[in-house]
Symmetry: C2
Subunit: 176 residues, 2 copies
DNA sequence: TGGCGCATGTAAAGCGTTACATGATTGT
DNA sequence: ACAATCATGTAACGCTTTACATGCGCCA
């Protein structure tokens, strides 16, 4: 369960409101942790209740906008959590289930679905590569910058791998 | 939500009992879908209730062992599901959250954790490569066999990628 | 025959998803 | 003023996880 810590990290990088966090989760944060705005608001309320973050009303803004910032207790909790043993993530890969099932049922519609998925991953790859070449090409980077670049590179590698899987699966379904 | 379809696929490949399914989910099925025995038993009960599988009492076995097999309705449901549009899987990668948080908090304990994780993924990789060289090295393979080989290869690539991430992260945390 | 361990099951709490609802400002 | 829209919140349901409980053969 790392949504609260993903939020703490995001707020430590830059304070912002719930809706802005939701937007950030659709962008840079989104390729390694997805969350809906409902999850975010619920978790922000809990984090504030726990005294890890503090939200203040933003004047002359639409709606009841509140900007959250991380408190010292939040930074401490984040450091504590980072030091926790990292368990291997549970894998739930629906595409693999579907491909293995296709080995039994053999359905033609699957080909078109795989093509759609392929397009999706190609678009994501292009997006990430753009971010990487724009933001992470300096010769010398701080440790923090190198870690963020590593995370982005992992996203790039992931998308490339999904592309390979889709292409191979399409080839297998086509070749006979 | 593909646990029921993972179970249907497993039972289509080979009928077996709940506890044996749990064991298979710790092995070959486990690298793309994880499930606890409680999830499995509950889902088996639902699938039987829905008339997709049928369980029969196994005599002279420990406990109240029941062996399940897939019914025609189950095979039909599997085929229907395979043809469903494949949505990109939601990504929730705790390691990436932790690495990005480490860019802020900088904790030494993380290094040891990464080493543990590295060992885990190396062991998995070795296991999968062993399966691949033992079961999928024939010159000519049926379409079904090629699909299963593709799924296994995806598992191998995944573990290799996690190994690379761990190594890179350790290098970054070590280099200064 | 009585513990040991395997096979199955029950219960509770938390996270994730979806649909829907309310507050408050902008622009016409 | 008032519709549109942004920002936040509520509610219900299903899946996942964890701890605990029961049924039943095996074997000392």
């Amino acid at each position: 369960m790392s949504l609260p810590h993903a939020l703490l990290t995001a707020l430590a990088e830059r304070p912002c409101s719930g809706s802005e966090l939701a937007a950030r989760f659709d962008r840079s944060l989104g390729y390694f942790w997805q969350a809906t705005h409902q999850q975010i608001y619920r978790e922000l309320a809990r984090l504030e209740e726990a005294g890890l973050i503090k939200g203040t009303r933003v004047e002359r803004a639409r709606g009841r906008k509140r900007e959250y910032r991380i408190l010292p207790a939040g930074t401490a909790e984040l450091a504590r959590w980072v030091a926790e043993p990292q368990q291997p993530d549970a894998i739930r890969d629906e595409l693999m289930v579907r491909l293995r099932a296709a080995a039994i049922t053999d359905v033609d519609t699957l080909r078109a679905n795989l093509q759609n998925l392929l397009d999706h991953h190609r678009a994501k790859l292009e997006l990430y590569v753009g971010i990487a070449t724009r933001d992470f090409t300096k010769e010398t980077m701080s440790r923090a910058a190198r870690l963020r670049a590593l995370v982005l590179q992992a996203g790039i590698d992931f998308e490339q791998q999904r592309i390979n899987i889709c292409q191979d699966a399409i080839a297998i379904l086509t070749e006979d």
